[in-house]
């Protein structure tokens, strides 16, 4: 699963500000991350933390006119120039063949008045010159590969004739049609029921391992992320607050938000109340100074509210967290555990 290769996509200091009638929404405010070859990177955070906007900005799929973006998005096989300001023709060459994305709600992600087959064929032929027979064969093969029964017949069907799970599989087929090297999956299982969720996740993992492509998996569900990913990026209020391997983050989370997220995960056999994080995320229009998690943090001090936050090394390799008190907190927690309280 790990053994990641060279960097495939590097995002540096990405900022996406949206101009709305209520003001400027700083949806993504200085996010940096790297995805390596054959790696699955997870982005986790609650609604509104900027994970979807990050992915869409990378793909260039934000609504025009409202978005103001800065920073760099470098897709290494394409060269070292940022694709953030690439011309349309360049982006069209990259999309599908190199970068692909699947969206959260499969019901709205497909054109309701055209058949699944039509839309899949469109994807298959977008970057390859194939005869009709070849294209059709490839399309049917893709539907089969993602686990849709009777694929040849289903080509003629329309989206409203598919269930949610089937639609998501079809979308995965469409995303993989031109064999991209990086797949961005934005909450692919959130609108599906639990049993189907599992199936889709396994499918994604299987495909990733078979093809050796990289994946960015976005979710608000930490359980999903930890199952599938190699490395994790935790986002809060438009910023990255912690970053590291799955093992490190699960065993030694350094940022209070990450800790709270892990705490909130229901344990098997757990009784009593679920632990949730009190309070709600700050406004992205009037962004507070200092640490954005301060109002909800159980370790907050006055200095936290004026500290100019940045990602600090935790001590473990490639594991950083945006908390200046992380070492103090670590020591306090170790002491607590040591003194027998559990």
């Amino acid at each position: 699963m790990t053994g990641a290769g060279a960097p495939l996509l590097t995002v540096r200091d990405l900022r996406s500000y949206l101009a709305t009638s209520q003001g400027v929404v700083r949806a993504v405010d200085g996010v940096s991350l790297t995805v390596h070859e054959a790696e699955v990177l997870g982005i986790v955070g609650e609604s509104g933390c900027g994970k979807t906007v990050t992915c869409r900005t990378i793909m260039g799929l934000m609504p025009a006119g409202t978005l103001h973006a800065s920073g760099e998005v470098i897709y290494h096989p394409h060269g070292e120039r940022s694709i953030l300001s690439a011309r349309r023709a360049e982006l069209e060459a990259l999309r599908g063949a190199q970068l692909a994305m699947i969206f959260q709600d499969p019901m709205t992600a497909l054109n309701p008045v055209r058949s699944i087959g039509d839309q899949l064929l469109e994807a298959v032929t977008s970057h390859a010159r194939l005869s009709r027979a070849q294209a059709r064969a490839r399309a049917v093969g893709l539907l089969d590969r993602v686990g849709i029964p009777a694929p040849a017949r289903r080509m003629r069907d329309y989206p409203f004739q598919f269930s949610g799970g089937m639609l998501q599989r079809a979308l995965i087929a469409i995303a993989l049609a031109s064999s991209p090297r990086l797949l961005l999956a934005d909450e692919p299982t959130t609108s599906l029921d639990v049993i189907i969720q599992d199936q889709i996740l396994s499918l994604l993992l299987e495909l990733q391992q078979d093809t050796g492509m990289s994946m960015i998996l976005v979710s608000h569900d930490l359980a999903v992320i930890t199952e599938v990913c190699d490395r994790i990026v935790v986002m809060y209020a438009g910023q990255v607050v912690e970053e590291g391997t799955v093992a490190d983050i699960i065993s030694a989370p350094r940022h209070p938000y990450t800790q709270a997220l892990l705490d909130a995960l229901p344990q098997a056999g757990q009784r009593g109340q679920l632990r949730s994080i009190r309070g709600s995320p700050p406004s992205l229009i009037d962004v507070p100074d200092g640490c954005r998690f301060a109002p909800r943090c159980r370790y907050v001090t006055d200095d936290c509210r004026s500290w100019e936050t940045k990602l600090i090394e935790t001590g473990e390799p490639e594991h950083t967290a945006r908390c200046w008190r992380q070492h103090e907190i670590e020591r306090a927690q170790a002491w607590q555990q040591g003194s027998g309280s559990a």
Partner: protein, 316 residues
Amino acid sequence: MSRFGSLPRRLVHLVIVLFGITLVTFFLLRLIPGDPALAILGSSYTHTRAVAIDNFLGLNKPIWTQYGLFMGRLFHGNLGFSFFYNEPATTVIAQHIAPTLFLVVYSAVLAALISFPIGFAAGLHRGGVLDQSSRIFFTLSFAMPAFWLGIILILLFSVHVHAFPISGFGSGFIGHLYYLFLPALTIALGFSTVLVRSLRSATIATLQAEFVDTARMKGIRWARVLWRHVFRNAILSVVAVYGVNLAYLISGTVLVENVFSLPGLGTLLVNSVSDRDYPVVQGVTLLFAVIIVGINLITDIVQAALDPRVGQEIGA
């Protein structure tokens, strides 16, 4: 309101509406205050003629017998006798259909040719020059009565610049196209306001749909995304609007035919009204209603063809 449900149900609905139309048209004649025979004959009133009319209208019989008489004659293609033309009403009406039908189709096509590109472009470049200027233009043209617009167009293009003829139907297909250009344009402009607005908002809404993002994600050309996804979907809501407003358009032909002196159904209607030729008034009204029912049916069929979801029992 598009009609969900299977074809048989739609046809039954159609038949009911048609019956209702005959009822309304039938009762129209009964609205005349006072003595209908006197009103119909006017100065050519003689006792014999009055009796003939009374018998024809069956006014001395109970109302349902009258309706039965009316429907019976209707099924035999008898719409009554035109007192003015001295011929069966059906004949008179048949002579006037061609220009109106030509005008209606011509206007419909012109309206589409004008409004589809403008509406789509306005939606794509919201707030742009085309959007703003077309908005102003169409707000103005919407407030213009069709007949006045026709007169202005005549003033500009027939009187000042002798580009188009002032009146008449012309001969031959090309002749018709030439003679009817200004009248069709008049109607089309009035019609286009609604279409442009509808397509514009449908385009804006469709652009925000997630399936457009999926299409872009595939890496296909933007032009192709626009045509096969955005336009293809936006046009769906316009079809319904198109059908409903085509009905209003037909109202417009009445006025425009008058302004351009076209020998169509509209002119016939107006003349018959001033001539007190009530059977013809009744017949033309009936015919117009049937045409509209037909147009609505065609609209439904087109909608079903474009949108596979419509045939399903989704529930109104």
